[in-house]
Amino acid sequence: MAEYQEDKLLDARGLLCPMPIVKAGKQMRDMEDGQILKIFATDRGSIVDFPAWCEDTGNELLKWSEEDDGLVFFIKKVEEEEDW
């Protein structure tokens, strides 16, 4: 599977559901279109939270996996397009 190179890193380990999403939302606001955010999380709820959040915001969930020290998500920022 392709590895992605992140532009920003968010360590949300130890945050409880749904705070990883809240923090990711704040982080994303400071990022440019097309940049990639890598997130570490330990809360199991993140497995369903991040896909839902990406669909809601239009950001793209590139990949997620379960590692020995928790969950890892790669999300690409996609700016909302007003007209298309």
Partner: protein
């Protein structure tokens, strides 16, 4: 605070925040207690999103060190913390004070008995929209404290979220308001993992 002092404060309207993980809470907790799982990173943020700042609160952590730390974090953030339960659940029970359970069922049982429950999803609207248990409604965790009074509980409510953190919180709020509520363990993560049917959208 001693168990008797905590009980007296509860009768004056104080809320006990049970800081343990969902399963021990479901198995046994102080009557009227609310489940707010502890961590240092975001306990304050979560409590802020759920409860009014002037609500009198008492911490119940096991071991007691957790109750002490939570009391400090929340009172530093301006919450109305009255203290923490000394001696924990053990001392409470030794004083003959009431404990209750939160009934729970896993996703397999929920699927079997779906028509026996009103399923309530405790997550935020965007998560609910993305996929929820067919026929379920939403009582978002940030609204629950204010809206639980008007919840219908016949048939009884089964509360679900992504995993269990928010569902156990909402179920405990419903129970405190006298509603009949159960916890769905494993949450949507288990539901999706088993490929059970999903409904999308807001209605």
């Amino acid at each position: 605070m001693t168990p008797a002092e905590v009980r007296a404060a509860q009768q004056e309207g104080a809320a006990v925040l049970d800081l343990r993980t969902p399963h021990p809470f479901a198995a046994e907790h102080l009557e009227g207690a609310l489940s707010v799982q502890f961590n240092r990173a975001d306990l304050v943020d979560r409590v802020e999103m759920v409860f009014p700042k002037d609500l009198p609160m008492i911490m119940h952590g096991e071991p007691e060190a957790i109750g002490k730390v939570a009391a400090k974090l929340l009172s530093d953030a301006g919450f109305n913390v009255q203290g923490h339960l000394e001696g924990g659940l053990k001392a409470w029970k030794e004083d003959g004070l009431p404990v209750v359970q939160l009934p729970s069922l896993d996703v397999d049982e929920l699927k079997e008995r779906l028509d026996e429950f009103r399923v309530v999803d405790a997550r935020d609207p965007f998560e609910f929209k993305y996929g929820h248990v067919p026929g379920s409604g939403i009582l978002s965790w940030t609204e629950a404290w204010y809206e639980a009074d008007s919840a219908e509980d016949d048939p009884p409510i089964a509360v679900i979220c992504g995993d269990e953190i928010r569902s156990v919180l909402v179920a405990s709020i419903l129970a405190r308001k006298g509603k009949s509520a159960e916890l769905v363990t494993g949450g949507m993560v288990d539901w999706v993992e088993r490929d059970y049917p999903i409904e999308k959208g807001m209605d």
